[in-house]
């Protein structure tokens, strides 16, 4: 059978384009490897209402991405939401014990994410610790309700 | 007919859909001779070749090649048998994605492990025999109908088969390429000592090269003999076919009500 090198080259470029495209979809579009350091440590936080927070949502500090939410479940003891976060291990032991976690929204209707703010306590958080001071998600209906009842007063 | 028999067809029955194509065909194909199978179009001549080649299975009856029943062979044995057969198709059936050289080389590459240089020699020899050695780099789409059939002939004999089946080799050819093909088939057959079965309805050309002729009509063998005996045969079917008479046992008119009544049918009764 005769071979045709132009044709083989064309098919080779085609398959290479497919692989590069997949790499692009992986790195640039799904953000694999971006803000996902290989070494992480885990922190927990309980929220009375998480709103629309989902696993894989980002965790930021001063707007800088430092980790992501890995798991959300209902705490059977307190009946509030227990959120598990994985943070970059370089912050392990750097965040003060009174760090606060708040569920924030990007834009008015955008994705929800967790924002951390450090406090001033000398002790620090380590792998598996729990953040005590949390601020629940802003739920639009509750805001409106508050606003209406304020108007009524 | 005193020649040794290569192929024997016994009591062949074949039905396609609801039409019965063959009802008891008996043929004997002598070794090393050109046997023509003739008949009006639509009598299943091509089907007969496919039955002999083992591509179709008959409802009843046998096809014996060298005493082996073609339709009882295993796939492997059939494959081996086909190595000894070449077939020239009505349209040439060249593979449209391969050039002339590769088309002729195809059976060699499939059935043999010959080195490339040897394959090249054989292919050029075969192409030289059909006068198309210079056209070896053309694609089938660039060939005229006659040339395509010559290439197909070269491919059919590439493996030096013992048996070649020709399916309507002359159909739709101009007089020159028809003459060329007639000469070629004759020459190739004599040179290689082939047994050939040729299906055709081109009477003049077929009678000029065939050693023996079978005429098939209505799913049965109507008559058989050498070309010279058929020419003077008195049977109405044979005479109509061999002499090309427009009317006879095969009627000119499609069945219809009486012409006179049809013409004079009162208005409003047209059907």
């Amino acid at each position: 059978m005769k071979r045709n090198s132009v044709l083989e080259l064309g098919v080779g470029i085609f398959m290479l384009a497919g692989i590069l495209g997949l790499v692009f979809l992986g790195l640039r579009v799904s953000g694999l490897g971006v803000g996902m350091p290989s070494d992480t440590f885990t922190l927990n936080a309980n929220f009375s209402n998480i709103g629309g927070l989902r696993p894989d949502a980002k965790v930021t500090m001063s707007g800088v991405r430092i980790g992501k939410v890995t798991d959300i479940e209902l705490d059977q003891k307190w009946f509030d939401a227990k959120v598990v976060m994985e943070l970059d291990s370089q912050y392990d032991g750097k965040l003060s014990e009174d760090t606060t976690a708040a569920i924030l929204t990007s834009g008015l209707l955008g994705e929800q994410y967790i924002g951390l703010t450090v406090g001033g306590a000398p002790d620090t958080l380590h792998d598996g610790d729990v953040i005590r001071d949390t601020q629940q998600a802003l739920v639009l209906e509750e805001l409106i309700q508050q606003f209406v009842s304020n108007m009524a007063n | 007919m005193n020649d040794p028999i290569m192929i024997e067809v016994k009591d062949l029955h074949f039905t396609r859909g609801k039409t019965q194509i063959f009802r008891g065909v008996d043929l004997q194909i002598p070794l090393g001779k050109i046997t023509a199978i003739m008949g009006p179009s639509g009598t299943g001549k091509t089907t007969l070749l496919k039955l002999i080649g083992g591509q179709l299975t008959p409802d009843r009856g046998q096809v014996l090649i060298d005493g082996q029943d073609v339709h009882k062979l295993s796939r492997r044995a059939l494959f081996g048998l086909r190595r000894r057969m070449g077939m020239l198709f009505q349209s040439g059936a060249l593979f449209s994605d391969l050039d002339v050289f590769e088309n002729v080389a195809f059976p060699l590459r499939i059935h043999t492990d010959l080195p490339n240089a040897m394959i090249r020699d054989i292919v050029l020899m075969k192409l030289q025999a059909v006068g198309l050695r210079g056209a070896r780099h053309l694609m089938p789409s660039e060939l005229s109908g006659g040339m395509a059939r010559r290439v197909a002939l070269a491919r059919a004999v590439a493996l030096d088969p013992e048996l070649v089946l020709y399916d309507e080799p002359f159909v739709g050819q101009d007089p020159i390429s028809m003459g060329v093909l007639v000469q070629l088939i004759k020459k190739v057959n004599q040179a290689l000592g082939l047994t050939a079965i040729m299906v055709s309805h081109d009477i003049k050309e077929t009678l000029s090269i065939a050693d023996y002729v079978y005429i098939i009509a209505d799913g049965q063998v109507m008559s058989h003999g050498t070309p010279s005996t058929l020419d003077v045969n008195d049977d109405a079917h044979v005479r109509q076919f061999v002499h090309g008479e427009p009317d006879g046992p095969v009627p000119f008119h499609y069945p219809a009500p009486d012409f006179y009544d049809d013409i004079l049918a009162p208005a409003g009764q047209f059907s």
């Binding site: 085609f14 495209g21 803000g35 955008g110 | 494959f79 059936a93 449209s96 059935h111």
Partner: protein, 260 residues
């Protein structure tokens, strides 16, 4: 009434027989050992069904990405959420539009060509003569085409998605002025590689197999006349498109149905 029931039964049996034939056909074609020559034949078909469909896929992907960004922007800006443009463009492309539109284009461009090519081979007795020479046309003609379709469509889908996202970037960021960083970071936050990208590719693998299977089978099974070829070509495009849209719903329900 009895007649109707009888004809319904006959039609059902015909359909079942056709499905059975198509299934056996697929089985006989795919189950074969790859050979060196087989790989060469496959490369040829990759060129025919894959590389030759690149142009139409790139152009359509670009325009669909651009339109998505334009439409999405006008809607999102009403909620002040134009930052979420990247996420919207990427999710709709990766999950739905890239696999489905690429498969529809593929059915029209490569599927119809495959049917016509194999039909013409059947009409010119090439398949029969191959059998007479002792080569199984299912292995030599059909198998490389099936494998080429199965491999090319996912590649075309990935290319469609990438070009579409880039088209959305051109319109959203360069023209409408969405902030560059939020286009990409919103996308990265919401698109999951396994959940979205890989699921999209699984869809396109299924579509690639089904579209090529329909195209090749229609070519192999047609009545070898010019009318038969043109009918089979039309059937390929219609059946393949319907199969893609129907399967898309089923696959989407299986993959994303239990979310939220």
């Amino acid at each position: 009434m009895i007649d109707r029931i009888a004809s319904l039964g006959r039609a059902t049996l015909d359909v079942l027989a056709a499905i059975g034939r198509a299934g056996l056909f697929l089985f006989h074609s795919i189950v074969c050992l790859p050979s060196r020559e087989g790989i060469y034949l496959w490369i040829r078909q990759m060129h025919f069904v894959g590389v030759m469909s690149m142009a139409i896929v790139v152009v359509s992907g670009l325009f669909i990405g651009m339109v998505l960004a334009l439409q999405g922007f006008t809607i999102l800006v009403g909620f002040g959420a134009d930052e979420a443009l990247g996420q919207m463009v990427a999710l709709s492309l990766v999950r739905e539009l890239a696999p489905v539109v690429a498969a529809l284009l593929f059915a029209g461009r490569a599927g119809s060509a495959l049917t016509a090519e194999i039909g013409l081979m059947k009409a010119t007795e090439q398949l029969t003569s191959m059998e007479m020479i002792g080569v199984d046309p299912l292995r030599r003609i059909v198998a490389p085409r099936l494998w080429a379709g199965f491999v090319s469509l996912p590649i075309l889908t990935v290319i469609f998605g990438v070009v579409g996202i880039w088209g959305g970037y051109l319109v959203g960021v360069k023209w409408l002025g969405v902030y560059d960083g939020s286009y990409w970071s919103n996308m990265q936050d919401s698109v999951s590689f396994v959940g979205d990208v890989l699921n999209g590719i699984i869809k396109s693998l299924v579509f690639g197999l089904v579209v090529t299977w329909i195209a090749v089978f229609q070519g192999y099974d047609l009545i070898p006349t010019s009318e038969g070829i043109s009918r089979a070509t039309t059937r390929t495009v219609v059946y393949a498109s319907l199969a893609v849209l129907g399967l898309d719903f089923i696959l989407t329900a299986l993959m994303f149905g239990d979310l939220g």
